[in-house]
């Protein structure tokens, strides 16, 4: 029992990331009808927003402290981050400590801008082109974004720590009244899951309960008629693209402490997220979320030692196997509707 709970918990954080990226992919696909291979790159840019803000906050000025000496006997040069100079040492230190959550605010305008430029500058010209062309051009864009990041941040992973409060682990089993030290779970992963649930809930609420969302849903169902009613649906779809970019970016920011960002993390997640979208059913938002969590949990079960010793290497391929099985058994995916992408 405890092993099962532990694996479900372990699957949640990866599943959350899959679900968030797949949600964005599906939003773009459902509204604009575009297959966006650059979505993983947006996730990566989000993670690097966290890295950048962390670096900016750690920008320091140097002062000479005559009361202390370094190992050569000279007066010691003390580096103080600017924020500590401006806000005082305590507030400054806690700002730096909280750099990852703060990066969410930092990444929203950036991702909005990136999404907007991408849609207006490139994707717009590909609405009427075949899906193969859309895949290829966004694939090219993904390479470009990835190489730019590599050029400026290097090829190595950059550790981006979570705030001190969330750095440890807690005993989840004891909270449920089980034996202590059986289910140990890091705080940040729980935060990530809660955050993902919040974002997913927010997106669904936005689409369900606002007039804007209603128009967008109507546009997803029948773009032409909504256009004929005198609504500028293209403008709203552009906003939805930017929104999807923000969702991917925020997923990336929060994922930075779990897995130190590197330039190819986007590609790694993209392939899996596409599998998630296809399993969930192309164009189905609840399907994407459901499949994201299911596959995340499935992956964590497959990486249990008991199962790995039974079928070696299963943890590497379980998601792909599941996808192949589902596509052959239910070609439209778990919750796919008839008539979407049936070429």
């Amino acid at each position: 029992m405890d092993a099962i709970i532990l694996q479900i918990l372990n699957g949640l954080d990866k599943g959350s990331a899959y679900a968030l990226i797949a949600l964005g992919l599906t939003l773009i696909f459902g509204t604009l009808g575009v297959v966006n291979f650059a979505h993983g790159a947006l996730f990566m840019i989000g993670a690097f927003c966290a890295v950048t803000l962390n670096k900016i906050l750690n920008l320091s000025f140097e002062t000479v402290d005559p009361s202390r000496t370094d190992f050569l006997g000279n007066p010691m040069v003390v580096k103080t981050p600017y924020v500590e100079g401006w806000f005082g040492p305590e507030v400054g230190a806690s700002i730096i400590d909280w750099s990852v959550p703060l990066s969410i605010l930092f990444c929203i305008p950036i991702m909005l801008a990136v999404g907007f430029i991408m849609e207006r500058g490139l994707i717009k010209h590909f609405y009427r082109r075949p899906h193969a062309d859309q895949i290829l051009v966004t694939f090219g864009l993904a390479i470009v974004l990835q190489e730019l990041i590599k050029h400026y941040f290097g090829a190595n992973q950059i550790a981006t720590p979570a705030p001190d409060v969330f750095r440890g682990s807690f005993d989840f089993g004891a909270m449920l009244g089980m034996d202590p030290n059986v289910i140990i779970y890091p705080y940040w992963r729980l935060v990530y899951f809660a955050f993902a649930a919040l974002v997913i809930g927010g997106v669904f609420a936005f689409l369900q309960f606002t007039t804007f969302g209603m128009v967008v849903r109507a546009g997803m169902a029948d773009r032409e008629t909504v256009g004929l009613l005198g609504i500028n649906i293209d403008k709203r779809f552009t906003i939805m693209f930017a929104l999807a970019a923000v969702v991917a970016g925020m997923a990336g920011v929060m994922y930075a402490p779990i897995n130190s960002p590197n330039y190819h993390m986007g590609m790694d997640f993209l392939v899996l997220s596409f599998v998630v979208v296809v399993v969930g059913g192309m164009g189905s938002l609840p399907g994407a979320v459901l499949a994201g969590f299911l596959l995340g949990i499935l992956e964590s079960f497959a990486s249990m030692n008991e199962i790995k010793s039974l079928i070696p290497g299963i943890d590497q391929i379980i998601i792909y196997l599941a996808a192949i099985f589902i596509l052959l058994a239910r070609p439209r995916g778990l919750m796919g509707r008839k008539g979407v992408m049936e070429d």
Partner: protein, 398 residues
């Protein structure tokens, strides 16, 4: 002749001539001149030209004719490489059995993957092939390490049995790959004035195989089978409604193109007997897609052009570094030179992939037909200008 129409025969002849005289054509600059770095006439690079040419020709049979965009073709290349190296390890250093095994194994592998993936079309197909390729890549890195030797890559060792050959040469080294005794690395150098031309046995073997592959691809393009594949591309639903089962045709195309990829992988291992999992990564699959698109998908000569173009510029661009750039621009005033070098250095050296990505976007956006279409457009423009000139001549202005 050879069952080809005159136009195709000319094309085959032109390609054959280009390939045979490649050591001359690709070496236009004297060996010790400043431009020598733009020479491409050395064996290693020429081998890569023709091997990737074969890969792209094969990919074009699937993508160019049927329109099915496979994002996992590098998996077949990798499987081909692994099987060839195993043949070198177990049987002998002769390349022929290795290449044959590479083609057979990758063909079987393609049949398995194609049988499942081709149940779906469009983007589903792309993602299924991508999933299979990533799966093979992951497996090659982890569980299949006894077969693939994991991250190190599969290499020849002195302990290999080599039943028909020798385990080690008399001098105690690992024997080299050969074609019935002709060593693949054997190179003749011809010095002519300031030029030095290299003729490599391995290159000419690859070139010969590429010509055969190219000939087969022309025959496929012109056959009723090729016509059927084109029909699949233009409207598969209509074909189905006429009561025709298209899947055997698409599966055949998939297996053929998988065998081409395996052939390329086998040749790659024959020229340099090692195989690594990174050959199966999906960026490698993306590269062959780009070669085909850049040259012109669905045309005969396009993929070969695209492969040559990309491999040539990959080689040149990777060589250029900041110092070279400074040399080039040093005639300009400093205020212009520094920013120019700053911009340019993003695209050269290790930044070659950035150039590749940009090229990808530009070609797909502005020139979906690739270089071949670009050439045709220019040709049409020139012809029209010539005609309009004639027209103005015949009707005086006043």
């Amino acid at each position: 002749m050879l069952g080809l129409k005159k136009k195709d025969l000319t094309l085959l002849g032109v390609v054959a001539a280009l390939v045979i005289f490649a050591p001359f054509i690709l070496n236009p600059f004297p060996a010790d001149s400043a431009m020598a770095q733009f020479n491409a006439g050395y064996p290693d690079l020429m081998q890569r030209f023709v091997i990737f040419g074969i890969f792209a020709i094969g990919f074009n049979i699937l993508f160019g004719l049927t329109g099915y965009l496979s994002f996992g073709h590098a998996a077949f290349l990798g499987v081909g490489s692994y099987s060839a190296v195993w043949m070198f390890k177990l049987l002998s250093m002769n390349v022929i059995p290795a290449i044959i095994l590479a083609v057979i194994i990758s063909g079987l592998f393609a049949m398995l993957i194609g049988f499942i993936s081709l149940r779906r079309s469009g983007i589903y197909f792309s993602i299924l092939t991508l999933a299979f390729a990533q799966m093979s890549f992951n497996l090659a890195y982890s569980v299949l390490t006894p077969i693939t030797n994991g991250e190190t890559g599969l290499q020849l060792t002195l302990e290999d049995p080599r039943v028909l050959g020798e385990t080690a040469t008399s001098s105690g080294g690992i024997p080299v790959t050969n074609f019935f005794g002709l060593e693949m690395r054997a190179t003749e150098t011809l010095n002519l004035g300031g030029w030095s031309f290299q003729f490599n046995a391995g290159y000419y073997l690859c070139a010969l195989i590429m010509m055969i592959a190219f000939y087969i691809s022309i025959r496929i393009f012109r056959s009723p089978f090729g016509l059927m594949l084109r029909a699949v591309k233009s409207n598969q639903t209509r074909l189905n409604y006429t009561g025709l089962n298209t899947r055997p045709y698409t599966l055949a195309a998939f297996v053929i193109s998988g065998m081409y990829a395996g052939l390329a992988g086998g040749l790659m291992a024959s020229m340099d007997p090692l195989a690594g999992a990174e050959r199966m990564q999906w960026t490698a699959s993306g590269e062959v897609v780009l070669m085909t698109i850049l040259g012109g998908a669905g045309t005969l000569i396009g993929p070969v052009l695209g492969a040559g173009f990309i491999k040539y510029f990959e080689n040149i661009f990777s060589k250029i570094n900041e110092n070279v750039l400074h040399q080039w621009f040093h005639a300009l005033p400093d205020g212009i030179e520094t920013p120019l070098v700053w911009v340019a250095e993003h695209f050269v050296g290790s930044g070659w992939h950035l150039t590749l990505g940009l090229l990808f976007m530009l070609v797909v956006t502005f020139l979906p037909g690739g270089l071949v279409e670009g050439g045709q457009r220019i040709g049409r423009l020139v012809r029209r200008r010539g005609e309009s000139k004639k027209a103005t001549q015949s009707t005086p202005a006043e």
